[in-house]
Amino acid sequence: MFQQILFFLVAAAAAFFFFGRILRIRKNILLGRAEDRSDQSKMRWRSVLLVAFGQKKMFKKPIPAFLHLLIYVGFLVINIEGIEFFLDGALGKHRTIARFLENWDLTVFYTVTLNIFEFLAVLVILACVFFLVRRNIFKVKRFSGPEMTSWPKLDANLILLFEIILMFAIMTMNAADQILQERNVEGYPDTGLMIFSEVFASPFYRPLNTDILIFVERIAWWLHIIGIFAFAIYVTYSKHLHTFMAFPNTYYANLEPAGKIKNMPEVTREVNMMLGISAQEDPAAGEEISRLGAKDVRDLSWKNLMDAYTCTECGRCTSECPANQTGKKLSPRKIMMDTRDRIEEVGRLVAKNGNQADDGKSLLEDYIAKEEIFACTSCNACVEACPVMIDPLSIILQMRRYLSMEESSAPAEWNSMFSNIETSFSPWKFPPSERFNWAKELKDEA
């Protein structure tokens, strides 16, 4: 009874914090500008299936892809066991489903399922250990960089440790449970042989007396269930949020050709007016033009902000970036991490002081320097590299628009290029009357 009450309290508190965070993140994402991504639902589901579920883009690097897949499958499958954890916690029973199946003589299903869970748990532990070693001992280059400060590095290790602890809790619980079954202790229904915990964990627990084993089993159960709750809440603050966000993010990903830059209809209206092209019946005509381009996170589209919450900081983008590879300050990963940090900050500010709140800071300048924005070649290598279809380039280009049009602070050479186009209709300063000279030269040559 006491355990049941405790379970309800813990579950309620966890749900409160978890859903609070989810709502906050949703609200933060919606602080971004509108953008329509509701078309082509078939294509969108396709990319969810291939890229999020199927992890298609991960397989460019087969070894990490395989290990990541193990953890992912483990995460999905072992969480089915969570159903029984919940039932047990809520009903104050032990192994509710095993009991139920025992009544129908179907224990074998339970045994097989639990052995699959245990097998995956072992694989998850191995994969996590490998990832820890790779991150901390082999020091893969893309895991470092100026933006990989102490928190992102700790975050990455904490997640791996967390997963290892959760898996150990399952193994410990099952091992203790089996020994208690052997000893015919009351309240431990037949589960059948759970091979992996029997082989790897039971030898450590068999010498313990029954009372201690009951205690160990309970501790492991609580550790696992509290672990699941704590992990769910922690994830909302962590790069590990990609486990959820990968799905909506691939659904709403850009389906246009990568080379196409999003049009600015507000500029089209202005240009048409200047050229005397009659503005067609446009419902948005005469609407106040807000800031051109992006200076802060609220100038970006909601999809840019969703991208930021989806980023796992894996660094594939940065390691493919030609500017970053040649020592420039630009790192697409940093663009995404800064965007997330800033939208979290703005979200807190808005929650405290309302929608109009302003802290005098902005994404550009306070987080991202012009030098980073100006180093981009718009080559789309970062976009191509991202396993969850994040588009750092979109943010960079919107900031360039702000710098060029609102601040007029583009590099001097770009300003010359602009004036060449304005006066000579070419980015180079050649007289327009010489544009067709090549043809004359070609005919002369012949």
Partner: protein, 266 residues
């Protein structure tokens, strides 16, 4: 070989006066019009169009910058002014199909003009050349110097990742029966030459190396004597890289249209 051809380069204005419309408009681009090196590529492509009897025309002095570098540098107003002016001209001539040797013009006209009222079928010259060969309009010579020579191909970002055109230029190199050797980073993983996103028009930001040097080194590692490209900016960047490495004598940077023109001694 003595060149017996005389080449025709009709303009849209001339054809319109005669009440004619060409099969395809050849969009030259600013580099193809003004850049000394890229004018040679324009020439090579025009020669090929002539011998394949393609009914084409150019805009001549009526062509202006598509606005690509302005948009990528953040000047949306200037881009849209350019786009509006070009679309006005193209629509006035009822242009349906455009071919260009510049991936930046290609990308802009193909992907960005439709939002502003310019809808055309746009093909890159690498795709167009493949089509001419496939249709039997362009017959490749059997005997030429390029046969079995080592050629590496550098992917232009605006052709490759931006528009998924990876194979058309490679097929041309294979058609020439040259020995195509790939760089480590190719196709989807190709490394930019460093000129995209309006970088062509400014000095690079502070770093420890120029991107074009990094890419040139990778191209040189293949041991190829010819670096094939399909973009005016890539050509400039790689040529500068070769100059920097003092390899101008044994390594040439050539456009795919030039490879074909050379193989036919045009």
């Amino acid at each position: 070989m003595e060149n017996k051809h005389s080449y025709t380069i009709p303009t849209m204005a001339e054809l319109a006066r005669e009440g004619k419309a060409p099969e395809v408009l050849l969009w030259i681009g600013c580099a193809g019009s003004y850049d000394e090196r890229y004018k040679k590529v324009t020439g090579a492509f025009v020669k090929i169009l002539n011998i394949a009897n393609v009914d084409f025309a150019v805009l001549g002095e009526e062509e202006t910058c598509t606005g690509d570098p302005a948009r990528r540098a953040g000047n949306e107003f200037l881009f849209q002014m350019q786009a509006a002016a070009n679309i006005r001209v193209l629509n006035a001539y009822s242009i349906k199909k455009i071919v260009t040797a510049c991936p930046h013009c290609y990308n802009t006209i193909k992907n960005e003009y439709p939002d502003l009222g310019g809808n055309y079928e746009v093909v890159h010259h690498s795709e167009f050349l493949n089509q001419l060969i496939k249709d039997g309009r362009l017959i490749m010579d059997d005997d030429h110097d390029l046969k079995n020579s080592k050629v590496t191909y550098h992917d232009s970002c605006y052709l490759g990742r931006a528009n998924q055109v990876y194979e058309a230029p490679r097929r041309l190199i294979e058609t020439l029966r040259a020995d195509l050797v790939e760089m480590n980073r190719n196709r989807q993983n190709g490394l930019c030459c460093g000129a995209g996103g309006a970088q062509m028009f400014k000095e690079p930001e502070k770093g420890n190396k120029d991107i074009n040097i990094e890419r040139t080194e990778e191209a040189l590692e293949t041991g190829a004597g010819i670096i094939a490209s399909a973009c005016p900016f890539c050509m400039t960047m790689l040529s500068d890289g070769i100059k920097n490495k003092e390899r101008e004598d044994d390594v040439k940077v050539l456009d795919i249209a030039e490879l074909i023109a050379n193989s036919k001694s045009l």
